[in-house]
Subunit: 239 residues, 2 copies
């Protein structure tokens, strides 16, 4: 057999392997009632019927992974233009009843206030779950979730993505609480404020809370333009 024939044969064999399914699983994080939460749905697939699972679907043959992730997110939440980031692809054998399916996990961060506005229309079974009390998820979703949570914890120390989880206007205490919950540590109030304000990534709105039974807190917002500037010139950020 000639060398070119061998190559043709190799390519023919390779095409026999195109029988994979590819799914996208979205790990959708929100922050509410002072807790970090993840959005889960009820699984309708044997042998996991009734168990909680991440929000996932098969990727269509004519859409990119990013498009699939955005589609899934929109179907569940009614939201577009939400923070979305690929984390890792899971490809062990027998992880899915359909056959050989590899799953690409995406982290998504959204402001729960937006979710509430957009999710009243759908009657699906999606619910927010406190991340500290999860067990017995469908498929290998427990592993996926742990991996994605670790990624979030690492990333939140290095980039100002925490803002994606807060309302447009927030107080420094809310921000500190968010970090404490994600990282699972207590932070010193004065040091935290100094560090955050020195970065100049948040803007003092000169507004205050109202109707609170204590001294009203100042409201701030995230300065995305300044963030992009810093990023181009080599951002350094540490918790």
């Amino acid at each position: 057999m000639e060398k070119t024939d061998l190559i043709q044969l190799k390519h023919l064999e390779a095409k026999q392997k195109m029988k994979f399914g590819v799914s996208v699983d979205g790990v959708i994080f929100g922050f509410d009632e002072n807790e970090l939460k993840v959005l889960l749905i009820r699984c309708d697939m044997e042998p996991y019927v009734g168990q909680w699972s991440l929000v996932g679907e098969m990727v269509n043959l004519d859409e990119t992974l990013e498009q699939a992730a955005n589609r899934i997110l929109f179907n569940q939440t009614g939201l577009k233009n939400v923070f979305l980031q690929q984390v890792k692809t899971f490809g062990i054998l027998d992880r899915h009843p359909y056959g050989r399916v590899v799953s690409v996990a995406y982290n998504s961060l959204l402001k729960i206030e937006d979710f509430k506005l957009n999710s009243n229309s759908n009657e699906n079974e999606a619910h927010w779950h406190d991340i500290t009390t999860l067990e017995n998820l469908a498929f290998d979703h427990m592993e996926i979730l742990n991996t994605c949570l670790n990624k979030l914890r690492k990333q939140v120390r290095e980039e100002p993505i925490g803002f994606e989880l807060l309302p447009e206007k927030f107080t420094l205490s809310q921000l500190q609480n968010l970090y404490e919950r994600i990282l699972g540590v207590e932070l010193d109030k004065r040091n935290f404020r100094k560090k955050i304000l020195k970065m100049k990534l948040i803007v003092d709105l000169q507004e205050y809370q109202t109707n609170v039974a204590h001294r009203p807190a100042k409201l701030f917002s995230f300065d995305k333009e300044r963030y992009e500037q810093l990023r181009k010139s080599g951002l350094i950020f540490d918790l």
Copy 2:
């Protein structure tokens, strides 16, 4: 139609989508002649015939992604138990002549001395390329390589993976050179040594270089046990 029928239908439709190919592309890094290098092969697939490409193959239906990555690495280098880490999955449309193929990119770091010992048997066209002078790779491999290189640069600042690229016994100057090449910066010799030695991750072997036309340097080796200890107790590492 009943609800359970709808669910069955949904699952049938989903199975129609299982026509993906999944490939693994290995970005195999080595360090030699004081340069960071990547292993490339000649592509034999239209329309990229003759162009340089990453080392990639289709994943078999009965192997995991990790197994595929290890298989590819072994076929090209004859090496097992090499540092291997998933980086990202690339899934745009029309990136591959076979049809819809998503590719999972893996970073691999190896000691080039080991490679030389194991690769004499194969007659393939793999060659090491200086990472600073690459262009016109096949497929979307230029993008994959850039993503993987950025990951390496980031990771090398946070974890002691640089040792994977050096011989068992190395000098502090070699180590410093490695960091300088990967990061593309110059480092202060005294400060670098202080920082590295303070971490206690390397062991003074009480041996010296021989046959060098200058004062012989001390040889060190990486202390993997101590690294695992530190990791468990929350390793902090910075360049």
